[in-house]
């Protein structure tokens, strides 16, 4: 955390903005790099002054001070810069959503309420303009989660499908993919008496009793699906393929009921969170709470049940009119203080690049800075079972590394070098291209 020095800092930034930014793309890059001279934040231990990070064959090979640099390594001089693991945005629609209002470019919400067999990775578009734009801000890997929509109120079903983790660089999804299935997305049914009707552009009121009936029906159906998946697993285990009919939906739920695949339950209101926790507890499911705007009201419950929270964007309005004005800002620090694992997330596409801003705002309102770094770099990897591959600068992990000119959570900080899967990756993107193009436009003739 630094207080900005107006004059010198501003000058440095002006200069930085016009300096050449490395433009290597991911083809024909050397397989070995040495990032030397920077302050290395491994997130696995104390920061290393004048440290070196060695990268070989896509993985981190060594990290420390005074490490010998192999002759074949391309040296990146990070003197005066800072080195971190890349940031991880764990709930996004990147690759599934190009232009939100144009349905032809959106593959988020399948018809029907129960679609456990659908997998985000199937339709992640590796050529999406969002990918280079997001990584230019230091986000190196994301999870795309079907059915999780920030703005669209008609989100995609109760069991929306499986979320996929991938690196933000690669020619095909096969090259980008980290894990095809990291969680089953469940949009917890909410008891909402007031809903916005797009057809008539007005708020529709429904009696509580009716809404509650619908809610109970949905929760019972969710329970039925889990029960049927258990029976299916038994039949599959004990019988031969001839004895059961293959069912893609039930097949997809088997790892869920066996506790191998976590459920990412998206819920905000305290009543919904309680009900979801109760359900998952009874069903013996591994629950991750997504969004959790009112998670601060059930800290004890979440801690007891060891449920991590993927936080809704910090920069949002309070849930209720009388909720303290800064509650969304203080929630991350309150959950952290209660011992609940937290990870920041954009829940979006275009705003994925705001991830560090969300963490920074939480620091302003009490979250320790080093914990905020973990909550954008490491914690999501732990929550989604990917910490053996990602999250810290440690030998053997995927070399997703960012080199910055300062605190990565601060608004003016630039990513100077970006490594994804151990390759120096361009920070060029559609936005910078348009900027360069139109900056050079000659004055029109009068």
């Amino acid at each position: 955390m630094k207080i900005l020095n107006f004059s010198s800092r501003a000058l440095a930034l002006v200069l930085a903005a016009f300096l050449a930014i490395p433009t290597w793309t991911q083809n024909a890059a050397p397989s070995s790099y040495a990032i030397k001279g920077g302050k290395v934040f491994t997130l696995a231990g104390p920061a290393i002054e004048n440290g070196t990070v060695l990268i070989r064959d896509g993985k981190i090979a060594a990290v420390g001070a005074g490490i010998a640099i192999p002759a074949d390594a391309q040296v990146i001089d990070a003197t005066g810069l800072e080195v971190y693991p890349g940031m991880f945005d764990p709930i996004t629609q990147i690759g599934l959503n190009e232009v939100s209002a144009v349905s032809a470019t959106v593959d988020l919400n399948e018809l029907g309420d129960y679609n456990p067999e659908l997998v985000a990775a199937t339709a992640v578009n590796p050529a999406s303009a969002h990918i280079p734009i997001t990584r230019a801000n230091g986000i190196t890997e994301v999870i795309a989660a079907p059915g999780t929509t920030g703005f669209d109120l008609q989100s995609g079903g109760l069991i929306a499908g499986q979320a996929s983790a991938f690196n933000l660089a690669g020619w095909t999804m096969d090259e980008m993919q980290i894990n095809r299935s990291v969680a089953m997305v469940i949009n917890w049914p909410s008891i909402q008496t007031r809903t916005f009707d797009f057809a008539t552009f007005s708020i529709k009121e429904k009696p509580y009793a009716d809404v509650k009936k619908e809610y109970d029906k949905s929760v019972n159906a969710l329970g039925d699906w889990m029960d049927r998946a258990r029976h299916y697993a038994q039949a599959k285990e004990k019988g031969s393929p001839a004895l059961y009919e293959r069912d893609l939906k039930l097949e997809a739920l088997v790892p869920v009921v066996q506790g191998k695949l976590p459920v990412l339950v998206v819920a905000d209101e305290v009543r919904d969170i309680r009900n979801a926790v109760d359900f998952c507890s009874k069903q013996n499911l591994r629950m991750i709470l997504g969004s959790g705007a009112e998670a601060w009201k059930v800290k004890e419950l979440l801690k007891d049940k060891k449920i991590p929270v993927v936080l809704a964007p910090t920069n949002r309005l309070p849930e209720q009119e009388d909720t303290p004005y800064d509650k969304p800002y203080t929630e991350p620090s309150e959950l952290f203080a209660a011992g609940i694992p937290i990870a920041f997330s954009s829940f979006g596409t275009a705003f994925s690049r705001r991830l560090p801003q969300y963490a920074g705002t939480a620091v302003a309102y009490g979250l320790p800075h080093d914990e905020a770094l973990k909550a954008v770099m490491l914690n999501a990897a732990q929550i989604f079972g990917l910490a053996d591959q990602l999250g810290t600068l440690a030998p053997g992990k995927i070399a997703n590394v960012i080199v910055t000119n300062g605190d990565p959570l601060e608004l003016q900080t630039q990513v100077r070098y970006l490594f994804i899967k151990g390759q120096l990756t361009s920070t060029d993107n559609k936005h910078r291209d348009l900027y360069e193009q139109y900056r050079k436009r000659p004055q029109p003739a009068r």
Binding site: M1, I3, L4, F6, R9, A10, L13, V14, A16, A17, F18, E98, V99, S100, A101, V102, A129, H130, F151, T193, F198, A199, F201, Y208, N315, R316, L317, P318, Q320, E321, D322, P324, Y325, D326, T349, A350, R353, P356, Q357, G360, T361, V363, A364, Y365, L409, E410, L411, Q412, T413, Q414, K430, H431, R432, L434, Y435, Y438, R439, R441, Q443, P444
Partner: protein
């Protein structure tokens, strides 16, 4: 549920009342030992600001607190001009869009100001002191706009920024041509459905307005010449605001995205002899920054929003900086009650994206929107004689780590973080007491109903009414459950 929220609103309102009443006679206030970000004449370390009768009376490093002045000690803190949000929809009681006509210039947002909107308080807590309140963008020519100060606790009549020129919202592109939401079944689609039609609607309206203006000019001329037996033209409340636009008495704030539609409106404005005051959103403004600058229009844009619709697909976060480089007066606005709470953060992004200086970044949310709204003689910088509209942060407001400590309007403290925090326990207790009281009353009512009903349970006839009884029972249930 509904009642609980209402109670909460009352509670919050009550909590801020002491601040407001105390501040009714502001007197003399002295903010001392702060880093003062004047925006117009540099930053002053260990600076002080003297406020008298709601105005800035002195600013400097070597001021002394006058006898009897209320002291605000801002040691280690930063004072900047109150943030001005050039595009907001807070404090509007529902009616953001006037559905129906493509020209809804007769509608006035000032008629639906809601001083109890909690977002006024929330935005105040984000350092915002002034906001340009606009209609939505459903119509090529939308409704009349109003500039307000966020005087939380005051009635609607005291919100408007006195002396600020009123505006009118125009809208171009996908929204007025209804691209992104379906026309409900059974409803006829509304003209226009293309950008071509949008231009035609605006041009046609101004042709009518010009005719109408001519009628009035003729009438006034003949009246001035003492001609007898004159009949004044019939008033047209739809065209009156457009005449004001042509006379320079009302600003045009035009919602727009694509470069082509921006140039279109510049052409139409030239044809009818008016100027577009601001292009709002103006996400492709960077493509035609020279033309916007030459037209004398301002650009009020987002920091980094993009791709939420087709016309936002070429939006870039360098837009503000690039337009500013080409001489456009640029502001960064919110269009959203949350975004307004973080406008200091959004402004800071233009340092990273396009290399604006810290001071130029601050201008995006202070002096520049003040110029765009024609209130720069009164607001937008810390200068002697201007209104004492100030935001006090615990550190440099262009840092993501900055937190607003106090917000002042007209020299009155309307938001105080420490007081807000200190008051929360009392508010919670008051809310609980009200909820308990309500619960008790409901129980008492239930008991009463029960004792009244008991004798009635005997006659069987009443228990099974043939037809209309259903309604009676239903309404009884509904009343009891609330």
């Amino acid at each position: 549920m509904k009642r609980a929220t209402f109670c909460a609103a009352v509670l919050l309102f009550a909590a801020c009342a002491p601040l407001a009443t105390r501040a009714q006679n502001p007197g003399t206030i002295f903010i001392q030992n702060a880093t003062v970000l004047t925006v117009t004449h540099g930053n002053i370390e260990h600076g002080s600001i003297l406020i008298r009768e709601g105005k800035i009376a002195a600013v400097g490093a070597d001021l002394k607190a006058p006898e009897g002045a209320a002291i605000i000690d801002a040691t280690g803190q930063y004072v900047m001009p109150g943030i001005i949000d050039c595009h907001s929809h807070i404090a509007v009681d529902g009616s953001v869009n006037e559905a129906g006509p493509a020209v809804s210039s007769m509608a006035n947002i000032a008629d639906v100001l809601n001083p109890d909107d909690i977002n006024i308080y929330r935005d105040l807590a984000g350092g915002v002191t002034t906001a340009n309140i606009l209609h939505g963008s459903a119509n090529p020519i939308g409704g009349q706009t109003v500039v307000i100060k966020l005087r939380w606790g005051k009635p609607a009549s005291e919100l408007p920024f006195q002396g600020a020129l009123p505006g009118i919202k125009f809208a171009l592109g996908e929204n007025p041509k209804h691209s992104n939401f379906p026309t409900p079944p059974g409803v006829q689609a509304r003209y226009p459905a293309t950008r071509l039609g949008v231009e035609e609607v605006i041009r046609q309206a101004f042709i009518e307005a010009r005719e109408y203006k001519k009628q009035w000019d003729d009438y006034n001329q003949r009246k001035a010449a003492a001609e007898q037996n004159l009949v004044p033209p019939r008033r047209n409340v739809q065209l009156d605001p457009l005449v004001e636009v042509m006379e320079g008495k009302r600003y045009v704030h035009a919602h727009c995205y694509r470069a082509d539609e921006i140039l279109m409106l510049i052409r139409v404005a030239n044809e009818f002899g008016f100027k577009v005051r601001t292009f709002q959103h103006v996400l492709e403004g960077y493509k035609i920054a020279d033309e916007i600058a030459a037209a004398g229009a301002g650009g009020s844009t987002f920091s980094d929003w993009w791709a939420y619709k087709m016309e936002a697909f070429d939006a870039i976060p360098y837009n503000a900086a690039l337009m500013a480089d080409r001489g456009v007066i640029v502001s960064v606005n919110s269009d959203d009650a949350q975004e307004a709470r973080q406008l200091n953060q959004e402004a800071a992004k233009s340092m990273k994206n396009g290399g604006l200086s810290a001071n130029d970044a601050l201008k995006l949310i202070t002096l520049n929107p003040a110029i765009q709204l024609g209130i720069d003689a009164r607001a937008g910088s810390i200068d002697v004689g201007k209104d004492a509209d100030l935001a006090i942060y615990n550190r440099d407001p262009l840092s993501v780590y900055a937190v607003v400590q106090k917000t002042l309007i007209d020299g009155q403290v309307y938001f105080d973080r420490q007081k807000d925090i200190a008051g929360r326990a009392t508010l919670a207790a008051e809310k609980q007491a009200l909820l308990d009281k309500e619960k008790k009353a409901a129980e008492a009512k239930k008991a009463e109903e029960k004792s009244e009903k008991q004798p009635e349970t005997k006659p069987d006839k009443k228990k099974k009414p043939p037809q209309d009884g259903g309604g009676v029972v239903q309404s009884g249930v509904a009343g009891g459950s609330r």
